[in-house]
């Protein structure tokens, strides 16, 4: 850990507060930046607190004290004993089931040996006795289990889905993380991507994650998705799709986005819409536009778009075009016809000027890194990037997750919203997770492949936000559901 600290800050020792502030985000100089970063830090603290995890400060101090004792150096025995007492503060929830009922009704599911061992850990005896160096070393070793929990907790907290419930209401959730899976299902999950285990087993003590921390954002979102209460009774787009949407919103951080870059994202979308509008009156342009979009849209949607453009109905054409389609249309058109965008679109003209003036801030690589979504299945990486592909049909099973990796309209649309409302880009750190959650609440699909339902939910959420029905500037700190 010292090496990590040194690499990150140049210092070898950090307090938990310093670690949390470091994890929360980069140093901010503006009032809004400081506020949003403070909110992010508070969210992390809140998870650590609700999971009742031992403070890293306590663990480091105990480690140092025990080292001193083992080496025969001086140490404050009473202070160390008091810190050791903190290890025993955790209490299990008041039980509803007896041990034998757990055995009968949750065999293979309920296993809290890790927590139970922690609760029995008593370092006070070692601290207050004349223990041998070997005994002291063994006592130090017992700190590892608490350290593991606190570090895992920081990871969970960093990827906390918006409005999460499990992280705040099941204090065993982090402690129960099982890297090997051997307690319940052999060692097959060792170093495999994490996996949610134990849902729907009331006597099992709650679900928990098994496996490594790989794919953690998605699995945490999977654990939390059923706590999102849809506005409508039926919401057919769900299961693997929603965790993917949430992952796309919680993985990115927007500390390093300039107003120029934010504005460029909006201009790409507006220019695409202006291209479509112009194409509804210009046959030659129509052919170019449809050719660019033919690689991105479902054949049926592409046909509807073509019909609308041929009929001169720009409004209908825009209605079937997602924000990402407009965005990619501009990029594709600009690539194929480098000198024509500004002649057809005012926003395109402004975009070209911005690209010339601020090439470091407004270039495809940076936009892709800041506003692309993650593709852990398609590209085997959590790096964000633009991948222009046709939407993946639902089909069932894991294909829902592929659907979500094709959905890059969310972050682009929220960024445009922020730009049009004059918000500082750092506010995206607050806006995007919450607006995405609200969008999920609004999804009202009539069949499992109802992509337009997602687009409708996006636009309705945006409209609510523009109308001030979703208060965003009040921040999240100090409020609670």
């Amino acid at each position: 850990m010292e090496r990590v600290f040194r690499a990150a800050t140049g210092k070898t020792g950090l307090t938990q507060e310093q670690i949390i502030n470091l994890v929360a985000g980069t140093h901010q100089t503006t009032t809004e930046g400081q506020q949003v970063r403070g909110e992010m830090a508070n969210r992390i603290r809140s998870v650590m607190e609700d999971q009742r995890l031992v403070s890293l400060d306590t663990l480091f101090a105990l480690d140092n004290g025990l080292r001193s004792k083992g080496q025969g150096a001086t140490y404050n025995k009473d202070h160390l004993a008091a810190l050791a007492g903190e290890l025993r503060e955790f209490e299990m929830p008041q039980p509803i089931f007896t041990s034998s009922e757990r055995t009968n009704w949750a065999a293979g599911t309920y296993d809290n040996r890790h927590t139970e061992i922690e609760m029995k850990t008593d370092l006070v005896k070692v601290i207050q006795s004349s223990a041998s160096p070997k005994q002291v070393e063994e006592a130090r070793g017992q700190l590892a289990t608490f350290l593991r929990d606190s570090l895992v907790g920081l990871n969970y907290a960093y990827y906390e889905p918006p409005g999460s419930q499990v992280l705040h209401n099941n204090p065993l959730f982090v402690r129960s993380h099982d890297f090997s899976g051997e307690t319940v299902m052999g060692v097959e999950r060792l170093w495999q991507p994490s996996h949610l285990f134990g849902e729907g087993s009331p006597a099992g003590g709650g679900a928990h994650l098994i496996g490594s921390l790989a794919d953690l954002p998605y699995v945490l979102a999977e654990a939390e998705q059923n706590f999102i209460a849809p506005d409508h009774v039926q919401a057919l787009i769900w299961q693997q799709f929603v965790p993917g949407l949430i992952s796309n919103a919680i993985v990115p951080r927007w500390w390093d986005v300039s107003r120029n870059e934010l504005h460029a994202v909006a201009l790409y979308q507006r220019a695409g819409e202006e291209l479509l509008t112009a194409a509804s009156k210009d046959e030659e342009l129509r052919g170019k536009v449809l050719a660019v979009l033919s690689d991105r849209m479902f054949p049926a949607a592409h046909a509807r778009l073509g019909d609308a453009l041929r009929e001169g109905d720009a409004k209908a054409a825009l209605a079937v075009t997602a924000p990402a389609d407009s965005f990619y249309l501009t990029a594709g058109f600009q690539q194929k016809y480098p000198d024509q965008l500004g002649k057809v679109s005012e926003a395109g003209l402004e975009l070209e000027a911005l690209q010339r003036q601020k090439p470091d801030e407004v270039n495809w690589k940076k936009l892709s890194r800041d506003f692309g979504v993650v593709h852990p299945v398609f590209a085997q990486t959590y790096a964000r990037e633009f991948i222009s592909i046709r939407p993946f049909p639902a089909l069932g099973g894991n294909y829902g997750r592929l659907m979500s990796e094709c959905w890059d309209s969310g972050n682009l649309y929220w960024a445009r919203l922020a730009d049009e409302m004059g918000y500082d880009p750092v506010l995206l750190n607050r806006m995007v997770p919450q607006l995405t959650r609200r969008m999920v609440e609004r999804i009202y699909a009539s069949d499992i492949d109802d992509w337009p339902a997602t687009l409708r939910a996006l636009e309705e959420t945006g409209a609510e936000f523009r109308e001030g029905k979703l208060s965003m500037l009040e921040g999240t700190a100090g409020n609670r559901n």
Binding site: S46, I96, N226, G475, R480, N481
Partner: protein
């Protein structure tokens, strides 16, 4: 003292409400965040709803504050407010220095409370004693209906039973109607308009997995936002095949926020021992009760019982005396005089102290109702 309406069963219950005042702060767009690195635990008010019955199950009414003794971890407590049934509560003692009397309402919002006409707590605005009394007249009843695959056969009958229950509630009560399967549907927010709630009942559709404890958790959290007496009535035969939170966590939260849970089932639920165990134990722990009728058409007894409970509960509250225990705190309620000791007092046996340094969740995207 008098014995009240005779009922054919014994039901005595106590539930507990807590007002945890946050040590955190509301942050505006203009103000930089101030971080308080010290964990601050504050309990402003503990509210108990207590039912007292005699050996025949008759409610014992007319008791006075002095008739009760409250112990928390064995430490005697001073009754701060007292009320009986639907009568307004009376203030008997001032809050200790450093606490806000205006917050004298059960909540787990972690914020100071204000109230609107619905008695809903909001951060910031103070509540007068008159406001509080008006707000707690009647009860806030949250109905949670299982619409999962497990309810397919009895779905329509259960709808009818719920409608009957809603119609039968006292006019002073406000009702919310939620349904659940894999996720929660808030068909009718808390309202005094019965027709609105009944429309919500009729909009439900059956199907999908059952995440009872997930959805009960969300319902408890919604109910906890309101001041006054709060109960959740769940219509379900179990089981649960999709929750990620265990019933223990839901029960603790209900206990800590003073919400009594009632479960209304048919005997079919008895075929599933896990649900039966949870229903009976969770309801008892929160001061409610589980009912297992022959069929959904035969739930009159359950409805009458819940109605009677709402009408006869004593409402007591106290500001906890200094107590170093930061974990689970036990509570005992006793009757003082020797002749009263024959009566049954069922009380919640404790609550868990919750640290409240930081905001727990995001509420800024709540859509105005």
């Amino acid at each position: 003292m008098a014995t009240g309406k005779k009922v054919s069963y014994v039901i005595v219950s106590t539930s507990l409400g807590l007002c945890f005042l946050s040590g955190g702060q509301t942050v505006t767009a203009q103000a930089p965040v101030q971080v308080n690195p010290h964990i601050h635990v504050a309990v402003d008010l503990v509210q108990l709803n207590v039912a007292v019955t005699d050996n025949r199950g008759n409610y014992v009414t007319g008791l006075k504050p002095g008739d009760f003794t409250i112990l928390e971890d064995g430490i005697p407590q001073k009754v701060a407010t007292f009320g009986e049934g639907n009568e307004p509560t009376r203030k008997l003692a001032d809050a200790p220095a450093g606490t806000n009397v205006g917050n004298a309402a059960p909540s787990a919002t972690g914020n100071a409370l204000e109230k609107n006409a619905q008695g809903q707590g909001r951060p910031g605005e103070k509540v007068t004693a008159e406001d509080f009394s008006a707000a707690v007249a009647g009860a806030n009843v949250f109905v949670l209906f299982d619409t999962s695959n497990y309810m397919y056969r009895g779905f329509v009958f259960a709808q009818d039973a719920i409608s009957d229950f809603i119609r039968s509630l006292d006019n002073a009560d406000r009702i919310a109607f939620y349904s659940y399967s894999r996720d929660l549907s808030k068909a009718a927010q808390l309202t005094a308009e019965r027709a609105q709630v009944l429309r919500g009942v009729r909009t439900t559709v059956a199907g999908d997995d059952a995440a009872l404890y997930n959805c009960l958790l969300l319902t408890v959290k919604d109910a906890a936002k309101y001041v006054g007496r709060k109960v959740i009535v769940v219509f379900s035969n179990g089981p649960d095949n999709a929750s990620v939170v265990p019933p223990e966590d839901v029960a603790e939260l209900a206990q800590s926020t003073g919400i009594a849970i009632y479960m209304v089932c048919t005997r079919q639920a008895k075929l599933e021992p896990i649900s039966t165990a949870v229903f009976e134990r969770m309801t008892a722990a929160t001061g409610g009760k589980a009912y297992f009728a022959k069929s959904w058409q035969d739930e009159e007894r359950a409805f009458a019982s819940i109605r009677d409970d709402l009408a006869h509960l004593y409402s007591l509250s106290y500001y906890p005396q200094p107590n170093p225990n930061r974990g689970w705190r036990s509570i005992t309620v006793k009757l003082n005089s020797e002749p009263m000791k024959k009566y049954h007092v069922r009380t919640r046996n404790g609550y868990r102290l919750q640290a409240s340094r930081f905001p727990k969740e995001e509420a800024s995207l709540a859509v105005p109702e």
